[in-house]
């Protein structure tokens, strides 16, 4: 389940059958296989097997693998039937409703005019659609980056500074364009939370570079 793979996949196949579920299913199968391999008892297991610690991981990873394979088959079925029924003209083909009942969960299959300029590298799909899809995947990833940066900076910069930066940055990524308001909110929030936690609740938070 790496975001990078998912992003590429969604970009490539948005107009036709969504490929993101297929990629996810493949990832789930691989992960299930790895967990099953990991669950196999290494040392010669002593004691009774049924009441020992090795059974549960085998059951869980085995069940995971079985359902991941079922999911993969479910997701591939519309792709196979689509290949047989070539050529497809409409961009918004709805997959087999029984196998994939969740057309609404598919990211952006509905085509809408959009003047995107970012997507020049993918000539086979509609450029407007592409840019929108790309931006939809970009925002969560930026947000995740901001979070990771926050937690890594937390113990260096201290809670107040890092948290203030997080609030401003996250609000910005989420579409806020009022920098001054965000700065005020961030400062008030970070300071009051810090004081509340350290003074009232006795929970230690990193002080960092600010002298308090």
């Amino acid at each position: 389940m790496t975001p990078v793979v998912e992003e590429g996949a969604a970009r490539r196949a948005a107009p036709r059958h969504p490929i993101a579920p297929v990629v996810a299913a493949a990832c789930l199968v691989v992960a299930g296989g790895y967990l099953l391999w990991e669950a196999l008892p290494r040392t010669d297991a002593r004691g009774p097997f049924l009441s020992g610690p090795h059974l549960a991981p085998l059951v869980v990873s085995g069940g995971w693998l079985v359902f991941a394979l079922a999911y993969l088959v479910q997701q591939l079925r519309p792709h196979w039937s689509a290949r047989r029924a070539e050529p497809i003209t409409a961009a918004d083909t709805v997959p087999d409703t029984e196998a994939v009942p969740d057309t609404e969960a598919v990211p952006d299959t509905e085509a809408a005019p959009h003047s995107g300029a970012e997507a020049t590298e993918q000539p086979q799909s509609e450029p407007g659609d592409d840019a929108r899809g790309l931006r939809d995947w970009l925002r969560p990833m930026l947000l995740l980056g901001a979070l990771v940066a926050y937690i890594l900076l937390l113990e260096v910069l201290g809670f107040i500074l890092a948290s203030g930066l997080l609030v401003v940055g996250a609000a910005r990524i989420l579409g806020s364009r009022k920098l001054r308001r965000d700065l005020v909110v961030a400062a008030v929030l970070a300071l009051s939370v810090y004081l509340c936690f350290t003074r009232l609740l006795d929970i230690r938070l990193p002080e960092g570079v600010l002298p308090l």
């Binding site: 009441s51 610690p53 549960a56 947000l143 979070l147 996250a170």
Partner: protein
């Protein structure tokens, strides 16, 4: 009846000024966080857990939690009605008719019938809880390990099979949760499992980390990917009309009271059974009210019955969930799972022995459920304009704040950067689960019920000298296990019946989504 005496004693504990203050704080905090769009009761409690770490007063803390528990629910219904963004699946049914009513300028009656209905349901079902809990706990004393195993299995399967639209996706969610539950040292032999060489994983993945990751981080990342699709406008409250009592006209009252009672009757048993909380009863209540409504055409256009029934069912189920939690120690909803975590902070193990060991605490908790609801009724409607203000917090700032509090919730508890990173990782998975329409609740229940189930399974075998027939030697165990199998099959019956007759495949029975 000794229950009455115990309850009166519980009231005696709660009605001290300090404890009333705790109740008021809990109710206000719970409503405030519950009103925030996209935050359900489970996340509310998880985020507010750090607040209780430093309190040394278990009774006060649980009184506060009772307030938070119900406050989050009341707040959630306000959000569903005014903004059409239910914070959890149990509010989805309320949002259908409630938002319509709000759009027609009837937001006040909708909010009032939700609040009063919740109150009625909560009072009745808490009374039922008070009378049922101790007998069930006594009965549960005769349960053996094999029965507990069967019971947890049943709870897990019903939640997974009945909630959500695809069994395969539900099962994958469940197995992901079970896997999370396996991480760390084995409880019986201290064998490390799935630690991947990370020392922080040896102690297991905390339920708070899982909930914060799935519900706060996952939800925010998902919101970030769908900024264009969000409803942005809060429905106006509408004007206060005369000739109403508590915002409800005489006609509203007469249309509401029966759905309240019916909703309660549907909600409590479903919550009390190990069948997965409030999702099923709310949708069931919605369907029942639509069937019974005299003006069926009004449904879909803002029928007050469609708000009154499901809200009452929601609240009644919420109290019902406390029955298996307190008497058996088995949480059947995400919210109950966090409550269990809260109990464990104070080294209290819910189960049959809880009533014997800490009876005063349990009865104080039950009494505070009443107090909390009275406070909520008093707070919620008069303060509605405050909650509307909360709803109008700009989304970017709101979600930035949620991310901050989510990180803080994990860091404040663990003091470890790695734990926060684990929560973020789970959040990324939660994001993809939302995108691909995987239900979330089975993950939480798998993670918390899985380890319980495994321990009971192995304990049963150890006590029976590894004789697997221990699981089929008692009628109770066999009954529970066959119910679990039934729960897997029943949702597919319509399709299985329809197929041989050559008809178009009927849709699976399914009840809403998870929270």
């Amino acid at each position: 009846m000794s229950a009455i005496g115990d309850l009166v004693q519980g009231f005696g504990t709660v009605l001290s000024p300090v404890n009333l203050l705790y109740a008021a704080i809990g109710v206000t905090l719970g409503t405030f966080v519950g009103v925030l769009p996209g935050i359900g009761p489970a996340l509310t409690i998880a985020l507010l857990l750090p607040v209780t770490y430093s309190l040394n007063d278990p009774i006060g803390t649980f009184i506060m939690f009772a307030g938070i528990y119900y406050g989050a629910m009341y707040g959630g219904s306000t959000t569903s009605i005014l903004l059409n963004t239910p914070g959890e699946s149990a509010s989805v049914a309320t949002a259908i008719e409630g938002y319509r009513m709000a759009q027609q300028g009837r937001a006040r009656p909708a909010l009032a019938t939700a609040a009063i209905g919740s109150f009625v349901a909560a009072v009745i079902s808490t009374l039922l809880l008070a009378f049922i809990a101790e007998p069930v706990a006594t009965l549960a004393l005769s349960f053996r390990a094999a029965d507990y195993f069967a019971l947890t299995l049943l709870a897990m399967i019903t939640v997974t099979a009945l909630v959500g639209r695809s069994l395969v996706r539900g099962m994958l969610s469940l197995f992901f949760g079970l896997f999370l539950g396996l991480i760390g040292l084995d409880m019986l032999t201290a064998q490390a499992r799935y630690d991947f060489g990370v020392p922080e994983l040896l102690s297991g993945v905390d339920i708070v980390v899982i909930i914060v990751g799935l519900f706060a981080v996952g939800e925010t990342l998902y919101v970030a990917s769908r900024l264009r699709h969000l409803p942005a406008t809060v429905a106006p409250l509408g004007t206060k009309s005369s000739r109403t009592f508590a915002w409800l006209s005489r006609q509203d009252w007469s249309r509401s009271w029966r759905p309240w009672l019916r909703g309660t009757a549907i909600g409590f048993p479903f919550g009390a059974l190990p069948s997965g909380g409030a999702d099923i009863p709310t949708f069931l209540s919605y369907t029942v009210e639509r069937r019974l409504a005299r003006q069926r055409a009004a449904f879909g256009n803002g029928a007050i019955e469609g708000v009154a029934g499901p809200e009452a069912a929601n609240n009644a189920a919420f109290s019902g969930v406390l029955v298996p939690l307190l008497t058996l120690g088995i949480p059947t909803s995400s919210t109950a799972a966090v409550m269990l975590a809260a109990f464990q902070i104070f080294n209290l193990q819910p189960g049959p022995l809880l009533f014997e060991k800490s009876g005063d605490l349990v009865w104080a908790l039950i009494a505070s459920l009443f107090i909390g609801n009275v406070l909520l009724l008093a707070l919620n409607l008069p303060l509605i304009s405050v909650w509307v203000k909360v709803l109008q917090i700009p989304r970017p700032v709101l979600y930035a704040g949620i991310l901050l509090f989510a990180s803080l919730g994990v860091y404040g508890v663990s003091g470890s950067v790695v734990e926060v990173l684990i929560a973020y990782g789970i959040g990324v998975i939660g994001f993809f689960m939302r995108h691909l329409d995987f239900p979330i609740a089975p993950v939480v229940l798998g993670a918390i019920l899985g380890p319980m189930m495994e321990v009971q399974f192995r304990r049963a075998l150890l006590l029976a000298d590894n004789d697997p027939t221990v699981f089929i030697s008692r009628p109770l165990t066999v009954t529970l296990l066959s119910l679990a199998v039934l729960a897997l099959v029943v949702p597919h019956l319509p399709r299985l019946v329809a197929r041989p007759r050559g008809r178009r495949a009927a849709p699976r029975l399914a009840f809403g989504e998870d929270d």
